[in-house]
């Protein structure tokens, strides 16, 4: 099996979502959107399972693989929040963003085939990465809501309340990811925290959300809340994809992930 199969799964998911959203909008049927959302999710999940059994290692190592999981969780969170809060624009945004990540993977296939180096063969590998991806997916959701709230200035309040609920969940997972990483680092490299550039940027991301959590009770319903969420998510993206380009990262131990 090679990438050709992912093209089938990926394009099918995107197409089903697209058709679901279009028909759902025309017929004013939320159910259609939701069903298409879940079918796409099942397709991605099936691909992950098949791919996992094919490569004989957890598919969590490369950036492309993290994007794959991310697309999956983002769509899943979109679907679940849709059931919970019935926010239609949100499921559309999360399915669109998920499609973007699928497309990036279809267009940049080369990072798929990599074997697992000894330092990554650990029981911490799966919890560490999955927890991070879940955190990233929740925080992306808060980012989408923040952007929407900034455009729609009349009802800022509503967006801040929604974003808040999601940020706390995302921040909890982000903290777990950081801590699992520390525990793993102790086993693999001898120290739980070495200020490796990837660690430093993960910490920066964490502090950015920490600022948000401490600041928003003081800011109450001010729009600044939403700006902070946007900045924090930009920092998260730098941590995820941008660290390798920084001068500080030339000796990073996380270099395998790039």
């Amino acid at each position: 099996m090679d990438l050709f199969d992912f093209k089938i799964f990926g394009f099918s998911a995107i197409t089903i979502w697209f058709i679901g959203i279009v028909i759902g909008n025309i017929k004013k049927s939320n159910k259609t959107i939701l069903i298409s959302g879940f079918i796409g999710n099942i397709l991605l999940a099936s691909f992950i399972i098949i791919y996992w059994s094919y490569i004989d290692r957890p598919p969590l190592r490369t950036l492309a693989e993290t994007r794959l999981w991310y697309a999956f969780f983002l769509a899943l969170i979109g679907n679940i929040l849709f059931i919970k809060w019935k926010i239609k624009w949100f499921i559309i945004y999360s399915l669109t963003l998920s499609s973007v990540f699928i497309l990036i993977n279809i267009l940049n296939p080369e990072t798929y085939n990599k074997s697992l180096m000894p330092a990554l063969q650990s029981i911490w590998f799966i919890p560490h990465v999955i927890v991070y991806i879940i955190a990233y997916a929740f925080l992306a959701a808060s980012f989408i809501i923040a952007i929407r709230g900034l455009i729609n200035t009349s009802t800022v309040n509503k967006y801040i309340v929604t974003a808040n609920n999601i940020v706390y969940i995302g921040f909890g997972f982000l903290t777990l990811g950081l801590l699992f990483g520390a525990l793993w680092a102790k086993k693999a490299w001898g120290h739980y925290w070495t200020w490796d550039p990837k660690e430093t940027w993960a910490f920066i991301t964490w502090i950015a959300y920490l600022i948000y959590i401490h600041l928003h009770p003081k800011l109450k319903n001010d729009k600044t809340n939403l700006y902070i969420l946007v900045i924090a998510f930009v920092l998260l993206i730098i941590c995820w994809f941008g660290v390798q380009y920084l001068p500080s990262a030339q000796n990073s131990v996380h270099i395998y992930a790039y």
């Binding site: 080369e110 074997s115 001898g190 800011l219 700006y227």
Partner: protein, 422 residues
Amino acid sequence: MSANKWDFSIFRVIPLLYKMSNKKQIWQYPWQFKESLIILSTAIIISFILDFIDKSNTILKPVFPYNIYILLAIFVFDTLIFISFRKTNFVKWLQSGYLAISTIIWLFILVIIMGIFEQNNQSEGLIYNLHLNNIIYSKSFIIVEFALFTNLLMVIYSKLNEFSIRNFSFITNHLGILILLISLSFGAGDIEKYNMKIDTQNYVWGVSSKDKTTELPFALKLNNFYIDMFPAKITIVENKTDNIIDDNSNIISANKDSVIIFNKYKISLLKYYNNGVFINNKFYSVNDQGAAPTAMLCIKTKHSTDTCYVSCGSYMYPSKVYSLDTDYTIVMLEPEPKLFKSDVKIIYKNSETENISIEVNKPINIYGWDIYQTDYNKDMGKWSEYSIVEIVKDPWLNIVYIGIFMMIIGAIGIIFLGKKKI
């Protein structure tokens, strides 16, 4: 409102907070964001000036027992202040969210600097003078740590008298961070970390770094270094650019029945040898010193069928490639390690010996020393004649684990309890 809805005044956080506490005169209690930011920023700017004047760039890393003395002194001092003045506005400020936010913002700024400039390198000029290449040992970082310490301790004290699930989550989070902060700042000086190169010839008793030599209560000798490689991958290189043709379908890995179909060629794997040598251009599948992974391939076109060998070579033998045509060549890539470990013999002071193996991700612990497999002679690969292990002693480790454990509980609390309804 709508005119400036996209004004992107991202930096209005600080003016806004300023405004928030602006209803009263400055320095009039209760102190809020304005006062917190002025006090903290003044302290940090002074510490930057001090760092700039102090050309020696001394690293402030107290070791046992001085770190304990300093920690206790600060702890007792803070506690006494809390007990004596707990009803005052000053202590209320010390435990306030305003001080927390100011401190976290400064922590954020310092860590951003750390994330941009490479740390611990030999910089010159302003970066060096301001300690920007060594932030965690700069005076400004110590100010932030001190402010965090005091703020966290005070807020924990103030929350101790009321019990609820939400409060429990709050305390585990904040106490966990406080414990981690203490062990990272005060414990750093007590960590001993050395690289030890071991071989099959002699026992190594002591370890040394730049400034210190330590005798260990045991000695190590390498019995056998073992390395297991992933099967090497076979792929196609464009001669003109020397680049691998970047597509997954152009890679054969030995454990799969994969086939490369490239231009008019169909390339398949006939047999994969983990070890082999070429003598006078003839292949022998033997496991001698320097033997290298080798593959026998079948290359088919419409009109012809050919077999060939490719090998990635080793430190003793050159690699072997196969020219498809003038533009493309089949090569074997260097195999990646799957597992490496050292079977070592340990001898203790009382002459008792023990055989044990040290593997990546599976360190061993002897008398409080953690021993990690880290490196070997990469040029020689599986024929490496030595192994490098890292030997670490961190007396604060259990305290760190307590902190991490509390924060895990706290994080689960955040996920399930979420935001307090206001």
